[in-house]
């Protein structure tokens, strides 16, 4: 889910950036440092939407660097347990399938796929119902529920399920 959040960060700036464009330099350094990163608490920082406040700079002892506390608003994307998401399938194997929503990877284990869907191997591995009416393969869109999340240094990884009511394939690419 997307969130709009105010975060704070201490930015260190080298004296060569001081001058008329101090604030612009600070903001562009913030964008380079923060956009695209991921944390366990807030998820992916997708974009910075504005700077709320830049505090007074403190010169660090022993070096010429100055630390500015910066408060900024940003859009973050963080998956939550219990959340319903629509994801595009990227890979299917006999253990389950991988799907993607935005910057987040989700794995759905075959234990969490309805029992009437069987794995079919081949050029285009897929999960199909016994009557062939529903198929999950690469590029299918599925609606799933997040049941667990794990945060790495640079990405968030989730476990999902489609074994609940109103979950499963939304869009079959072969019939589109």
């Amino acid at each position: 889910m997307f969130f709009h959040i105010v975060l704070e960060r201490n930015m260190q700036l080298h004296p060569r950036h001081f001058g008329r464009n101090l604030r612009e330099n600070l903001v562009s350094k913030l964008m380079k440092d923060v956009e695209g990163t991921c944390s366990g608490r807030h998820g992916f920082v997708v974009a910075i939407t504005g700077i709320e406040n830049v505090g007074k700079g403190l010169i660090r002892d022993g070096t010429g660097f100055v630390t500015f506390p910066v408060k900024y608003q940003c859009v973050v994307f963080r998956p939550f347990k219990g959340e319903i998401l629509e994801a595009a399938v990227t890979m299917v194997n006999k253990m389950g399938f991988f799907a993607e929503t935005g910057p987040v990877q989700i794995f759905v284990s075959n234990h969490l796929i309805p029992d009437d869907m069987e794995f079919q191997s081949g050029d285009m591995p897929n999960y199909t119902t016994s009557d062939g009416s529903v198929k999950i393969q690469k590029d299918s869109e599925v609606r799933l529920k997040i049941i667990g999340t794990r945060v790495d240094a640079t990405e968030i990884f989730c476990i999902g399920t489609i074994k609940d009511d109103f979950l499963g394939v939304i869009n079959d690419p072969t019939t589109a």
């Binding site: 347990k81 219990g82 959340e83 794990r150």
Partner: protein, 211 residues
Amino acid sequence: MSEKGGRMFSLPTKTTPKSSLKSTAAKSKRGRKVQFGTEGSPDVNFSSPKSDGKFATPFGKGGKGEKAANGGKTHVAKESLSLELRVEQELPENIKCLMDCEAATILEGIQDQMVILSSDPTIKLPESFGSGLQYAKTGSYFTNPQSVRKVLQSLTKYGVSNSEICVIANTCPETVDEVFALVRSLEAKRSKITGPLKDVLDELAKLKTST
């Protein structure tokens, strides 16, 4: 903490591997109070904010397949009860939940600005921006976030939280049963909100863009 979280697929308890399958469910309650907090008190879930980074799954007992096969069905039934959206409890209060259509509007605005700023080669948008924007655009069914927000705001007086409203907007359910199936935390207020929810869904259906 995130590095630790990155390696930690296994669950805190190590005593269960030798335990018999018969008492799996009972032992799992004792060994993993943090996950199954909704069985009794919701407090247990937020008493450990660190567990956000840890991997919480019904089957992850060190990956013991046979346990999953036998204890799996009961675990899934119990877990589906505990998988209620707890956004407001887990995040600080100043965070605003965004619907996908709102996020798409904001991100598109930023992307337009980037066209102007692109003369500076050092500023470029991260990869997660592109995938986030694409997801927000394809996932959202509505073109006018303000009217959607206005329609759904009427549910707040019945105690529906902002995150639940966002899930309803993002999934665009067609029936009231679908809403209660997808957002289990609303089950408790079923009798109160069924009527207003039906009206809201009708309004949303009118606002939905035809594809």
